[in-house]
Symmetry: C2
Subunit: 144 residues, 2 copies
């Protein structure tokens, strides 16, 4: 999660909503990145999507079994849906997102028994730090 937080800080410096993510496979980080929606003007360029795509390149498969995805904020429906499609094993996130969170807040896509794959969820990991960086970002935006 420290690596994901470093990525969130990089996003902050680049004037992107500060969310960072990393994928771990066999105790090794195989992908890390941060939100790049503004710089790429790409609605799909959330941190989680970029690391899933990169991890699939590294493992040469869209099936990311036995991987863990770390992300600073609870994933939105797009990202939670992508994690489901990629069959990741564990999702570890920092702070909840009451506005669009899809791993327990508005929806719980990773645990949905109707879907054909379930993901273990661990939340609140370094939650305070993950929440603070995003709160500071929006506070600064409002003050501008």
């Amino acid at each position: 999660m420290e690596i994901a937080l470093e990525e969130a800080q990089a996003a902050y410096r680049e004037n992107e909503v500060p969310v960072g993510a990393a994928v771990v496979y066999q105790n090794r980080i195989i992908a890390k990145d941060h939100n790049r929606m503004e710089q790429r003007q790409d609605p799909t360029a959330h941190a989680e999507m970029l690391v899933l795509k990169r991890a699939a390149e590294v493992l040469r498969s869209w099936r990311l079994q036995e991987t863990s995805l770390y992300v600073t904020i609870e994933p939105c429906p797009m990202c939670a849906g992508a994690m489901h499609l990629a069959r990741i094993e564990k999702l570890i996130f920092g702070a909840r997102d009451g506005k669009k969170g899809a791993a327990g807040s508005l929806y719980n896509i990773p645990s949905d028994e109707r879907l054909n794959h379930r993901i273990l969820i661990f939340d609140g990991v370094m939650g305070k730090e993950c929440r603070t960086i995003i709160e500071n970002f929006f506070l600064e935006k409002r003050n501008q």
Copy 2:
């Protein structure tokens, strides 16, 4: 929808789950593509994601306001979530997906009042043709 169906047929020929999509802006098709998950080994390479990304390139903005997205099958949570993020105006789809559909079946992300943008949904457009191609695909797979 005919263009989206042609894309689905292209996917079928490439041994991909046959789903096709297109984005229309000001009565013009600005993006069309089909599922490429297997050929790219990319869990995010659904037809809808590829056309959203391409449309954002064409319009040079992640905000795809006033666009309509046509897709042969009801979108999954990832794709419905991406449409929400991209602020598309209308979603037109052919056949429902009872297993992972997120525009009326398992979830209804485009119409969720808790989210900050709503998408108009028109379903059942050329529904029979859209359903037939995917049913034939899986039937052929099972018979192999």
